[in-house]
């Protein structure tokens, strides 16, 4: 069976190196993108099985990416795990309409056991 593919979207290269190495060590294929625009392109081109993304990225592309994923019908079933150092926050679409919640929200630095469980459950 082909390995599940996970897209990592984070502008911090150290976080990307960490997560991609850990995921690959656990049998997943990984793709990486350093901002929301590149992330969306990677989703449309490579159809990942799950997106693991940071929210706070330059030029607010993290939030834009999440809105875009939730806006597109074709991506409705795509699991999105948000990994972030932000405190409490709300996710809003245009006009302050709340967006659907992500598959999971995990605080940085990530608890790897929790992240492992979340990913297994989602996939």
């Amino acid at each position: 069976m082909a390995a599940k593919r996970i897209l990592i979207v984070d502008d911090d290269p150290d976080t990307v190196a960490y997560l991609s190495t850990w995921l690959e060590d656990n049998g997943y294929d990984t793709l990486c993108a350093s901002d929301g625009h590149m992330g969306l392109n990677a989703i449309l081109e490579h159809n990942p099985d799950l997106v693991l993304m940071d929210l706070k990225m330059p030029n607010q592309t993290g939030m834009q990416l999440y809105r875009e994923i939730r806006r597109r019908q074709a991506l409705a079933g795509l699991p999105v795990v948000i990994l972030t150092g932000m405190g409490e926050f709300e996710l809003f679409g245009d006009g302050c309409t709340p967006l659907p919640a992500p598959t999971a929200r995990i605080d940085k630095p990530p608890d790897l056991d929790l992240l492992q469980r979340v990913i297994r459950q989602a996939l």
């Binding site: 911090d12 190196a17 990225m57 940085k108």
Partner: protein
């Protein structure tokens, strides 16, 4: 009533009563007047007897009564026993049988005690540490204390909203109007503008003033300046933002450290030396970032005294390059350094932090630039004349006008993960503490250039006041830098 009784009334009046002729000479005086001003008053001019003047008073009420035959009232100050005495004066005409005014009677009541009481209350009114004004139903000012007049001007008779709001019409939820309407005390917070253009936050309370019939004839408005309180609140809000910002930054750094350690551990366990090396670099880099974050927070939180010492240019630049080489390599940015010889005096730690902050900014600018080109960051340092000059430039994403204008502002960060908004603010502050200048030039899509000039000579004679003034200026405006014009 017979003449004797009228005489008794005249003599017994508990106030000064005199009668004057058209020449203002006294023709009669009662007992109490004679007791206080001398018995031989007949024929003396009233202004001489009452006031010790050698000419008539400018607005003599007796003259007015002779002129129009009406009763007149005025407040005067007379001279008694070498002291000034305040009196209320009433004058009235005395007619002969033919109806001609042949004399004027002048009755004067001592109001010295009342005046002193008035003066005491006036002093309290003026000295109270807030603004007090009294408005009529049209919101015109009818009275104001000295503090109000000093800061808003003496504009009695004008509407309050014109005087301290500079509005052409009454405020939407005017507390004074509400008090007139319901007779109750009301409170509100307002922003007003003083004569010299300062905008101040005021906590306003209004209270009704009743006339003898119980009607609300005026409303008193008492305003306390709470501008400093609001500034402290803003500062606390900023601190809250700082804590949030730092918290986010630290979480990112901890992730990086966790990642480096994971790579090292698994590198050892799986016998992958390249992974161990990668992990070690990540750990090293994130430890440096933690150090930088802590130093920035400390600089923000506490004005660190400048530790003046000779700094060798080449040693400084080499050290800075060493801190950032790993990160530059990771980001595939070429870090080019050119340094002349020489030295200057400054705080080594602070100048080191300043350069690291500026270079990190440049590395981030390269990282954020998505154009496919080789990215470079240059650091050039040299002693030119009496200044140590540092140029930090990059061909990264560049800054638009808004970003340039806010670049040195607290908490403004165009970066995502590691932007705490402190780096450039602190760099700016350090330059200021060294009495230097920092120029910023940037073009979106092309790159950015910082030029820092620090005086070579020690500023050991800087007074504490100078340093405090410099730091206070930075905290308030961050605006002493020379921003590029495009």
């Amino acid at each position: 009533m017979d003449a004797g009784l009228y005489r008794q009334f005249f003599e017994s009046m508990p106030c000064y009563v005199t009668a004057q002729d058209r020449d203002l000479r006294l023709i009669a005086a009662n007992r109490i007047f004679c007791h206080d001003f001398g018995a031989s008053v007949r024929g003396r001019y009233c202004y001489e007897a009452y006031k010790g003047r050698n000419e008539k008073c400018p607005l003599c009420p007796v003259e007015k009564t002779f002129a129009d035959g009406q009763i007149h009232r005025s407040e005067e100050v007379i001279r008694r026993g070498g002291e000034d005495v305040s009196v209320i004066v009433y004058t009235a005409p005395i007619h002969d049988a033919a109806g001609n005014i042949v004399a004027a009677v002048e009755a004067s009541t001592d109001i010295t005690e009342v005046k002193q009481l008035q003066q005491r209350y006036q002093t309290l009114f003026d000295q109270v540490p807030c603004y007090i004004s009294v408005q009529d139903r049209d919101l015109n000012l009818v009275q104001a204390n000295a503090r109000f007049i000093a800061d808003f001007g003496d504009a009695l008779g004008n509407p309050c909203y014109e005087i301290y709001k500079h509005r052409g019409e009454r405020c939407v939820s005017c507390a004074v109007a509400r008090t007139f309407s319901d007779g109750r005390v009301h409170q509100s917070e307002e922003v007003v503008t003083t004569l010299d253009g300062r905008r101040e936050n005021m906590l306003v309370r209004t209270a009704p003033i009743h006339d003898p019939r119980g009607e609300i004839s005026a409303v008193m408005e008492m305003s306390t300046n709470i501008t400093e309180l609001r500034q402290v609140q803003d500062r606390l809000t900023s601190l809250g933002l700082l804590v949030g910002s730092i918290s986010h930054g630290i979480k990112g750094l901890l992730s990086g450290l966790d990642g480096g350690i994971y790579l090292m551990q698994t590198g050892f366990s799986r016998d992958k030396p390249e992974r161990v090396e990668q992990g070690f670099e990540i750990v090293q880099r994130n430890v440096d970032r933690v150090r930088s974050l802590v130093m920035n927070v400390l600089y923000y939180a506490k004005d660190r005294e400048v530790m003046w010492q000779p700094i060798d240019l080449q040693e400084l630049v080499t050290s800075v390059q060493g801190v950032l080489a790993s990160r530059a390599q990771q980001l595939q940015v070429e870090l080019a350094v050119r340094c002349g010889s020489g030295s200057f005096e400054g705080d080594h730690h602070a100048v080191h932090s300043m350069l690291v902050n500026l270079l990190e900014n440049s590395l981030d600018a390269c990282r954020l630039d998505k154009q496919s080109r080789a990215h470079e960051v240059w650091l050039e340092a040299a002693v030119e004349g009496d200044s140590a000059v540092f140029e930090i430039s990059d061909n990264g994403i560049g800054m638009d006008q808004e970003t340039r204008e806010k670049a040195f502002s607290l908490f403004f960060s165009s970066k995502g993960a590691e932007g705490t908004g402190l780096g450039l603010f602190i760099a700016h502050k350090i330059v200021a503490r060294h009495r230097g200048t920092i120029d910023l030039q940037s073009t979106p899509g092309e790159g950015t250039r910082f030029v820092v000039r620090l005086p070579c000579a020690a500023s050991a004679e800087l007074s504490a006041k100078d340093e405090t003034a410099a730091s206070e200026t930075w905290c308030d405006s961050g605006g002493e830098t020379h921003f590029d014009r495009g």
